[in-house]
């Protein structure tokens, strides 16, 4: 008995002491924990196994509940594991479960211990070892221990066998060749009469199928037919809610072709929806949403409940019902629905309010604003939404405002009107969420100022004092728009007047504005004059005639607003640049400015400039660009614009692919098909709720929309094509596992299990084989489900579980393989069901191996 270690071990704190000590907190928790950790480190090095194991237990506790790292205890854990005592083993396994993972370096040293314990006669030791294996198995462990697992699969102790089956999946995953060894036993277990074993085995199969075959295996369509009836019976007769829910979910996700089943399911869902229990309500709404994709009538039938749920206390329920309501929106009722939803939003908390606004925005903008017919109304709605106190959707609104302005020419007057309303209100300037919207509004008022009714008012709005509060980038837009408005006003004034000589108006320009800047402005629109005069003049809707006095006022305003800016460091004066200074600027390599452009003749030839009615988006900029280019070569002023536009036009003709469309070539026709599903049916159940009536309006198919004015044209610009989502290659280990399973099933094929290429022939071959894989056990399930002799007993003892594929392909044609099986928690085991979605890929037939029949 060595003195110190005995003394130490005599007074070792047990886990209980540790916990008690922690709770007493005499010296503060952190200090106590560090002291204990020190003790543990000493104790864990002791040679006495009991001391070590207690230390290990304490460490596990600290690691688990106080999140301390215990990786230094890896070796001691192994040492404790070697103890013959059950309690030590338990502690050691617990520690291993907490701290070991795939990359722990000494994992291999466990192998022998595991093997010993797996072969033990004590079922609890076996279970401990199995559990350990299930969590930390890597390739080597799996490979080495496959024989043991194999033995255990046929153990006569139910307790052990259940767990062996559960472990099998993990072993398979890591070491696919083990499939060869274990698969048969696994399948034999399928025929076991014990429901628990059965459910464990089916669980393994489901996960196997799910993880590996979900993308490849075609499904047996006959199975769905067979299964529908029993499921419907179950739904009618069962008392267990969870089982009922499972059936409903099965039906709506994968058996949705069977109308009667769907009707029955929807009826049950209705029962859920009116239940008091919020859980059931939520699940009912969820199920309804899944149904809604194909069967909107189901939603229509239940719409009162759905709409009532919008104001439920539970946030989950609110969001689900919001989604359902959005599914019911169509072009007939979009305006009224939005009105009602916005009212809801005003009354709700911030989070839900933004949810509502977000969903309105995304629904309305889907597919280039497919469901919007009256853009004027929509634009004003956007303006209104910006004003809602909690609104945080400023960016999206900004995007849509600008987007609509670009695409829909006819709405620009209304757009400017809305912009003016937004700009005039000084209260909005302080709201940081709205800066995006304000910048959009400012930009549009500048861009489309010709549609404005009162440009002077716009100017005042843009120049109001509180704009100083805005961030610089937004302010820049305001300034640019202000100049655009100014130019427009001057121009209109001149057109109206004709008597004011250009030179005279220069006197009005305040000295603060630099002379060259004003010259440039002037040059610009003197050229524009010719081209656009008629166009602009015709469209001016100025209610206030722009007189000389008003121009003076404007200019004074501008000076007032921008004068101080010129003095600030943010703004640089645009001074003239002399020719010699320009000459000193060194050209970047390869850029030849003065080259004769006659080479372009080859490309462009002789082309007249396009008429001024063409799509105005490109033209003014073109001319300005031509001008700025020519400012370097002042001599060629007048000719350059013509040439450049004609060259441009010809180039556009030859290489039209790369340009924005000149004409509105991709017009969405005015009588486009109704946005809602033609399958919508349903009676209009009238009640006090406005929304209900509105959603009902969307249900009459084929009725031509009566609109007071035709839908404006929405231009579709050349969008960048979305990259097609890459088909996910199955991982190589999946390939090897599937290969292994295939091998087991079909014995003598020379298919290498380790091929990691998935070329088309392989995958199609695999399709056939996997189908076979599901086929046999589908067959065995079928025999369980059908009205066979002994199968009625099996039928009453099996389980049903539902799995959904974690990875969905982007291909909309294919539905995923779903296998269902259910475990009934409350011990009321009823029938075994398995439902699978029929896939469109045709099944290939091949021989079913004997041992599986």
């Amino acid at each position: 008995m060595s003195g110190p270690s005995l003394m130490d071990s005599l007074f070792q704190r047990s886990l209980e002491d540790l916990i008690k000590g922690l709770r007493q907190q005499l010296i503060g928790e952190q200090a106590f924990i560090s002291k204990s950790l020190e003790e543990i480190r000493k104790e864990i090095k002791s040679t006495d196994l009991s001391t070590k194991s207690t230390a290990l237990l304490k460490l596990s506790y600290l690691s688990n509940l106080h999140f301390h790292d215990m990786s230094f205890a890896v070796f001691p854990a192994l040492e404790v594991l070697s103890s013959p005592r059950f309690s030590h083993k338990k502690i050691a396994y617990h520690a291993i479960l907490l701290s070991f993972h795939d990359s722990t370096p000494i994992l291999l040293l466990i192998t022998n211990h595991l093997r010993k314990d797996l072969n033990s006669t004590n079922e609890f030791e076996v279970s401990l070892a199995l559990q350990c294996l299930s969590r930390i198995a890597n390739v080597d462990l799996a490979r080495d221990l496959t024989p043991e697992v194999f033995t255990l699969l046929s153990s006569n102790k139910l307790y052990v066998r259940k767990r062996a089956v559960a472990v099998v999946l993990r072993v398979f995953e890591k070491y696919p060749d083990s499939v060869r060894v274990c698969f048969k036993r696994l399948v034999e277990n399928l025929e076991n009469s014990d429901p628990q074993i059965l459910s464990a085995v089916v669980g393994v199969f489901s996960e196997l199928v799910l993880k590996i075959f979900s993308k490849l295996a075609p499904l047996e369509p006959r199975l769905a037919k067979r299964v529908v009836e029993p499921i419907c019976d179950l739904m009618r007769n069962t008392g267990a809610t969870s089982l009922l829910f499972e059936c409903i979910r099965t039906v709506v996700t994968s058996l949705s072709e069977y109308e009667s089943a769907v009707r029955l399911a929807v009826g049950k869902v209705r029962g859920f929806l009116v239940d008091e229990d919020p859980n059931l309500k939520y699940l009912g709404l969820q199920a309804l949403r899944i149904v809604a994709e194909k069967h909107l009538w189901a939603v229509a039938e239940n719409k009162e409940v759905v709409i009532k749920s919008l104001s439920d206390a539970d946030p989950n329920i609110k969001i689900e019902s919001l989604r359902l309501v959005m599914a019911m929106v169509s072009e007939h009722n979009v305006s009224e629905m939005s009105r009602v939803l916005v009212n809801y939003a005003l009354k709700s908390d911030p989070v839900f309010c933004n949810e509502i606004l977000g969903s309105i925005l995304s629904t309305c903008s889907r597919n280039l604003y497919e469901i919007i017919v009256d853009f004027d109304w929509y634009v004003s709605l956007l303006g209104e939404m910006s004003r809602i106190p909690h609104c945080q959707m400023g960016d999206e609104i900004e995007n849509q405002l600008i987007d609509i302005g670009l695409r829909v020419k006819d709405v620009r007057p209304e757009l400017v009107h809305v912009a003016r309303d937004l700009l005039i209100d000084p209260a909005l300037l302080g709201n940081s969420f709205l800066h995006g919207v304000l910048s959009a509004a400012a930009w549009e008022s500048g861009e489309y100022v010709e549609f404005s009714r009162n440009p002077l008012e716009l100017m005042e709005a843009l120049l109001q004092p509180r704009t100083n509060l805005l961030p610089p980038s937004i302010r820049a837009i305001y300034i640019q728009s202000a100049f655009k408005v100014l130019v427009f006003c001057l121009h209109t004034c001149i057109m109206q007047g004709e008597s004011i000589a250009p030179s005279a108006s220069l006197d009005y320009l305040p000295s603060g504005v630099s002379a060259s800047a004003s010259y440039e402005l002037f040059d610009d629109f003197s050229v524009e004059n010719g081209a656009d005069a008629t166009v602009v003049h015709g469209q001016t809707r100025a209610s206030a005639p722009i007189t000389e006095e008003s121009i003076v006022d404007l200019l004074n305003l501008v000076e007032l607003a921008f004068g101080p800016l010129l003095g600030s460091h943010d703004v640089e004066e645009l001074g003239p640049v002399s020719l010699s200074a320009q000459g000193k600027v060194c050209l970047p390599n390869g850029l030849v400015l003065k080259e004769n452009l006659s080479d372009l003749e080859m490309i462009c030839g002789d082309i007249e400039p396009s008429s001024s009615n063409s799509f105005s988006f490109g033209n003014p900029n073109e001319e300005k660009d031509g001008l700025s280019f020519s400012s370097l070569q002042i001599k060629e002023d007048s000719e350059q614009p013509h040439e450049s536009t004609s060259l441009l036009a010809e180039h556009r003709k030859r290489h039209g692919l790369y340009y924005l469309p000149l004409r509105k070539s991709e017009i969405i026709s005015n009588d486009y098909p109704p946005a809602n599903d033609p399958t919508l049916q349903g009676d209009i159940n009238d009640n006090a709720d406005h929304l209900v009536k509105l959603t009902a309006e969307s249900l009459v198919p084929k009725r031509k929309p009566n609109h007071s004015k035709p839908r404006p044209v929405v231009v579709k610009l050349d969008e960048v094509n979305e990259k097609p989502v890459a088909m996910k290659q199955p991982e190589s280990r999946d390939n090897s596992l599937s290969g292994a399973v295939r091998e087991v099933l079909f014995g003598s094929e020379d298919i290498l299990p380790t091929s990691s290429q998935s070329n088309l022939s392989n995958s199609s071959k695999r399709k056939g084989k996997e189908k076979q894989h599901t086929d046999p056990h589908v067959e065995s399930k079928e025999s369980a489900v059908g009205d066979g002799n002994s199968s009625s007993r099996r039928r009453s003892q099996g389980k049903e579980r539902r799995q959904r594929s974690p990875r969905k392909k982007n291909d909309e044609e294919r539905k995923d393989t779903v296998q269902k099986e259910k475990k009934n928690r409350s011990g009321r085991h009823k029938s075994i069901q398995r439902a699978e979605e029929p896939l469109k890929v045709p099944a290939q037939t091949s021989v079913i191996p004997d041992f599986l029949l």
């Binding site: 071990s9 009991s50 688990n64 509940l65 259940k162 859980n279 939520y282 959904r804 974690p806």
Partner: protein, 166 residues
């Protein structure tokens, strides 16, 4: 499969945590904190489900139940049915009750090993293997007997409290 089981009290202290997929301890702590943040903002009579995708990654759902001062939280993927997991929580709590007679939070605090044993009997490697609380109890009792038997070999207790009790 079940991804994680957690029991935490209304102040956010973890009383039980079991993750069926390996996660480093810092990540575990983060996750638990995240869940607690969501849980304490839930009202009383709302549904027991939370969308766990932002915390646990894709394809995860969360079901929780509030008993006295404890939240029981189960995280699972789409292969499990929410209502069934609710039932599972019920089974777990019933088993705890049978084991400790009128279980309260302190029982869970002081019986770290036993609670883990119970949980391991119910959920094995993420799969549910036992749903009958009486069966679980039987197994747990046998295990405790085994443990006690294996410890009885020593005549001299090795822990300070054992020494004192002599």
């Amino acid at each position: 499969m079940i991804k994680a089981v957690m029991v935490m009290n209304t102040q956010g202290k973890t009383r039980l945590a079991k993750f069926y997929e390996y996660l480093p301890v810092e990540k575990q702590q983060e996750l638990i904190r995240g869940i607690f943040a969501v849980l304490c903002s839930r009202a009383e009579n709302v549904s027991n489900f939370i969308d766990a995708e932002s915390i646990f990654g894709p394809d995860s759902r969360l079901v929780y139940k509030h008993f006295a001062t404890l939240y029981f939280v189960f995280v699972f993927d789409s292969s499990e049915n929410e209502l069934a997991v609710l039932d599972l929580i019920q089974v777990f709590v019933e088993t705890l009750d049978k084991c400790f007679q009128n279980v309260c939070e302190l029982d869970i605090v002081f019986n770290y090993s036993k609670v883990h044993t119970i949980l391991d009997e119910m959920i094995f490697g993420g799969q549910v293997v036992e749903t009958s609380s009486s069966e679980i109890m039987k197994a747990v009792e046998e295990i405790s007997k085994l443990e006690a038997a294996s410890n009885a070999i020593t005549l001299i207790p090795k822990s300070a409290s054992g020494w004192r009790s002599r």
